[in-house]
Amino acid sequence: MRREIPIAITFIVGVVFAVSYFIPREPFSEFESQFGDWFGIIAAFAIWLGAMNLMKISIVKIGRKSPDYFYSILIIVSFLMIVFFGFFEGYKGIYADPQFSYRDAGTGFNWIYEYIYSSLSATMFALLAFFVASASYRAFRARNLEATLLLISAFFVMFGRVPIGDMLTGWLPDGYTMSGWANWIMSVPNTAGQRAIMIGIALGLVSTSLRIILGLERSYLGGE
């Protein structure tokens, strides 16, 4: 019950998706469509599970007065704030005439999205710019042939993708300026390297998928 049914589910669903690629007809196509719908709905519950788990952990932390529990309070307050606006305005929008979406400009939900969520998430990822520069200064060394190739390639691409590259090499014939070299690196050696990686990953994925579908790989079921 705890292991056999999940293995059977994995097998049946996996086979349906694999076979329907070759036989896009009834009953496989019908099952493929229905399972496609299921995937989206289950994925939504998975997201809710994550959010609820976050709340559970935060509440426990506050209850235990763990160090830094103040941040758990902030997590809960900000979570509840956006959820309140999202549900309230979503509900209001459905019954309004004309209907509107909770995501529309002017809603509280969109306000939080624009001024809180967007600025926080965007800045969080943008910080990497500084660390990339710092790493370039401290760790990017042409220690051997391979590292030198990497460095030269990065140099051409970085120069070739901004106008200064062409401004500095404008005296060269057309196609041999920095942008020309950057284009060539991207469309020839980069394509070859990426393709080798791509094919390697694809073959690995096929074998892993087969192992999962056939029940040989069961680690996703956890212990017991």
Partner: protein, 331 residues
Amino acid sequence: MKRTELVVSSLIVVALMICKFLLPKPLLFSPLVSTIVTILIGCAFLVIFILTVKGKPIERRIVFLVVGIALVFPFFMKVELPIRISPEVQQVYDKMSSLPAGSKVLAAFDYDPPSAPELQPMADAFMKYAFEHDFKVIMMGLWPQGPQQANQSVEAAWAYNPQWMPDSADEKVYGVDYVNLGFQSGNEFVILRMGESFKSMFPADLYYTAYDSVPLLKNIHNFSNIDWGVNFSAGKPGTVEWVQIAVDRHNLPMSAGNTAVQAPMAYPYLNAGQLIGLMGGMAGAAEFEKLTGHTGKAITFLLSQTYAHVAVILFILIGNVAFFLNKKEKK
């Protein structure tokens, strides 16, 4: 908080308040000031070089500061930069410009605010071009944030030509000229389901209007009714999934705009003809803006981008020169 930290934070606050309330707006450097600023940045690098060669590498916070300066100061300089179009961006434009008025275009906004500086300029330029050439645009997102980013590109088009706004002379009517199908979870399974039927995946649009009640969607059942697809993608789900299912399984002609991190991985698809053109990062966005004639943030930021690239290259060069000089000394 230590005393020095308090002083630094107070100084930053004072500097920002001066910027906010005392400096002229907008701030624009004269060519002379721009040159002086550039020379000063160059001098900073010279000092960094000397210190590094002497075996006293600078602290990471100084690197951060120099990068910050290299990014910010070009905002206030006015320099026209030549933009050369790369073949892959030209391909996107050629495909788009070959479409007749009334063509049905599927635009997938698969990104979130962190990637917006790279992808929003492409999306904005696309939307302006699409409205200008009377394409029928069906927007959607495999990322929850996608539909809001799509709405922002519509607003950008309205700001460009207010005549397209609701109740204006040349109004672009929602549901007739464009529609936002919103977001659905399920990553590639959403595309898979759309291959059979759009309606089954999106029973209603973003505003809960039933699929069949939207005039634009009347004759659109699946990918076979779409003339061209364009995907603005920041990762997974994104271009890879669209190529694998919509292009390879359902023959949808498709182009893509990717973040620069993702773009190199899309080149094999481009080479194999699975993608019709590719816009990579802010540079790709600037080229696309130039081709469409809609100058936006990508072109505006190109000078800052250039300074930042040069800064990183100089950091790499300084690090390496110091590395080799020290190696030689040790020998």
